[in-house]
Symmetry: C2
């Protein structure tokens, strides 16, 4: 049975939580008295549907069920996780968390999205909430700061990992946890730079994203500076940069007066910088960029890339009736091109993923490759039969056309979510000795498993399009 998450309070953060749980197969109930809640959350989930699955090279589990409630007890009934995301007012948090602790199952995790309050403050009226502070967009960014009793945070962390997030357990409770302290420091200094006319909002954004922003997306502050210390290491870096703290560079000690003039100045500059795009367009741009960068980090496994790989490894392998299903996935926007559809390269990429999966199935897996043997593709033929758009599901089945000796001859069919045949990829591989870089016989167990498939598929009709050359008449 699907697990259930109750989301208390819609809005951008609540909607992000709803999407994260829902797309990971949880049932989600939303409690919000705002009549616009369903529309607002629907828009966040729509954004999530076009980006979250695109992070992975396998399909996420089937979505859970989504429901909306105006009765709190009904919303939290049977919940495994209850997440409060109401506005940042302590009296309101006390009231809501009190009601939740009464109505929710005793076994449910009660999480609060608060960015500022400590658990001791949240719970001073007897609630048992943990801080589970996420980052926008919640459906893409892995970070959740967890603060609370160790017994609660350990359990919460396990659940968060199971929905692809990165729980950071904050061991000592402090105002604003960790990340927002750093953010506030930058925000405060940036307000001064704008107020003093040193830089505009656009110039500050360029100073960040053209430089240290790129560093921080993959390593953080300290690992980056460790490198800057060069061969002499972290101590050398500290010796160089430490004394600067004494210099009167920043205006951090002062708080800029937060008046209408300052708000108008910032809002006006922000309009000039980003006003040509609507918030929805900005969100989609942000999400496409995040997906692209996080997919890039899969390669090294750094930061968010490592979280993706670990999460994907928990997904169920798809199964087929007659032929093995070797790929089941969503098409990311980054796979599309100027013609508005999946680029030819990625038809072959899906085929190559199917080959990799089929190799795994017969035992020629990562360990086999690490031990010095593999298959190399020597020849492939692709028929592009139909267009595939970003966000569509793709399912690949694999038929073995031959598997004697060093040779493995495969035929992949790429089907769209609607069942249409989008492409076929016929491919011939040779078994290789990776040290000699020469063809060689596969290990006996691999050969035996491949022979089983070859025999099982020998009775199937030869697929249409197999053995074609380019330009051959039908």
């Amino acid at each position: 049975m699907a697990r259930k998450a109750s989301i208390i309070g819609g809005g951008v953060i609540g909607g992000g939580w709803a999407a994260r749980f829902l797309l990971n197969g949880w049932d989600v109930s939303v409690f919000d008295t705002d009549p616009e809640a369903e529309r607002k959350i629907g828009e966040v989930i729509a954004n999530a549907r076009r980006s979250l699955p695109a992070l992975y090279d396998k399909a996420l589990p089937a979505e859970g069920r989504l429901s909306f409630h105006t009765d709190l007890a009904e919303a939290v009934s049977g919940a495994d996780w209850v997440q409060e995301s109401v506005p940042e007012r302590l009296d309101l948090k006390h009231r809501v968390l009190g009601a939740l602790c009464e109505a929710a199952p005793a076994t449910a995790v009660i999480g609060s999205s608060t960015s500022g309050f400590k658990p001791s403050e949240l719970n001073e009226k007897g609630a048992r909430a943990v801080v589970a502070h996420p980052f926008n967009p919640v459906y893409l960014l892995p970070l959740v700061e967890l603060v609370g009793a160790a017994s609660e945070t350990d359990r919460a962390a396990e659940i968060l990992r199971s929905i692809g997030m990165f729980p950071l357990i904050v061991r000592k409770e402090i105002d604003a946890h960790i990340a927002d302290r750093l953010l506030e420091a930058v925000w405060r200094e940036s307000l001064w730079l704008v107020k003093d006319g040193v830089a505009t909002t656009a110039e500050i954004d360029e100073a960040i994203r053209m430089g240290f922003g790129l560093r921080w997306a993959q390593m953080g502050l300290f690992e980056t500076y460790r490198i800057a210390g060069g061969e002499a290491g972290m101590k050398h870096f500290m010796a160089q940069f430490g004394p600067c703290l004494q210099w009167p560079w920043t205006k951090l000690m002062d708080v800029p007066e937060f008046n209408d003039d300052l708000v108008d100045l910032i809002a006006g500059q922000s309009d000039a910088q980003s006003g040509h795009l609507s918030i929805r367009e900005l969100e989609r741009l942000r999400d496409d960029n995040l997906v692209g960068m996080m997919r890039a980090l899969r390669k090294s496994g750094s930061g968010a890339g490592g979280v993706l790989k670990a999460h994907e490894a928990t997904f169920a392998e798809p199964k087929g009736a007659t032929l093995p299903v070797t790929v089941e996935r969503q098409v990311p926007t980054s796979w599309t091109d100027y013609n508005g559809h999946m680029n030819e390269t990625h038809y072959l990429e899906a085929g190559a993923q199917a080959t990799d999966r089929f190799m795994e199935i017969i035992g020629a897996d990562a360990a086999y490759v690490a031990a010095g043997r593999s298959y190399f593709t020597v020849e492939s033929h692709v028929r592009f039969l139909d267009e595939v758009k970003a966000g569509e599901r793709l399912r690949v089945t694999t038929q073995v056309l031959g598997g004697e000796g060093k040779k493995m001859h495969l035929f992949h069919r790429l089907e769209r979510g609607d069942g249409a045949l989008a492409a076929t990829v016929e491919t011939l591989l040779l078994h290789m000795d990776l040290t000699a870089r020469r063809s060689s016989e596969p290990a006996p167990d691999i050969a035996a498993k491949l022979a089983e498939f070859t025999a099982a598929h020998a009775g199937l009709p030869r697929p249409e399009g197999a053995g074609r050359h380019v330009g051959q008449r039908a």
Copy 2:
């Protein structure tokens, strides 16, 4: 004739400047009295050679010449750009900049890599330097803060753009320019978090790279927050987050005492976090991640991705004698797979790039596609003939096998830098009406240009491997 940059002071920053100029075709002379300078700069350039060209889908210009000097006048003779990167001591900067202004051509830009000093301080003894403050690794990160007289910074900005950088002209000189003010704020707050035992260096790094670091690599602070304001916009966000500045969250007002205990604490935690990797390994990890993320940003053109595309558009198109050269590029690490060589997908990607370039050559370019017509690939055949490793050059030539009516039949040969034939891609395309999503006749000028190539190539021998089907005997 190649332009010349003189790099004054080796080290990580000087080496990064040397690499950036050199790989963009400039001659580079290095002045440094350290006997280790040549080795140190050589290592930085080696890093740059494996990463900078991998950002682009075209080949960079041929490298310039690199020379080392212990005579300042000799080093700067004939220079167009002189970059000072000596340690951050004002008296030393005065001495070096004074000597440079005397020895260098009057037409040369004199840039200083200083992170802290203002131009008015640098020039108080009569030098004419501009601040050109780069970010590590200088060969990959686009940002350079330019501070100085407008006549000088405009000229400098043009040169920086021509080597793929993003000059940010700082209009009002202030200590530490813009980016380092923000960095210092985060550094200062982070030191407190470590000192107070709230978080380790590793935890702070996770708080950054799993969350806001990913946001800041593509948008900055303000554009990100504009989105957070949701439909209600920037003013709404300000109203929410502004008052927090009054809260006693951060310890920004104090300076932590910078003693050996603090240095040991930070250095010890950093060792525990990153000590399993050498600085060289960390650098390569960082560079591969940067290349992957920056390549991902090419798609949307956000931030560094936009800089890459604009720079690449200035590269010369390769030319061939008999057949058009349709691709000339380096193979990025991200194109390789578990077998330690270029993955099959990217053989087809190079072929697809060749097709795109050939379409451009016959006039079926971006404007033609925008106007509603294009070519779609219907069938491709790839022979994988030899392995290609990361960092190798790849050159593709294109032969037209047929070009009548709606059809375009191409044969791409992928050659490695050493001249070996790595693959052939035979591909058949159909001309399409993008609105109807149906095949259609090409525009007359496109048809005419394609016919020219078809006729010119008709006399060439039919390429070996054309018309093959998968598994056909040789």
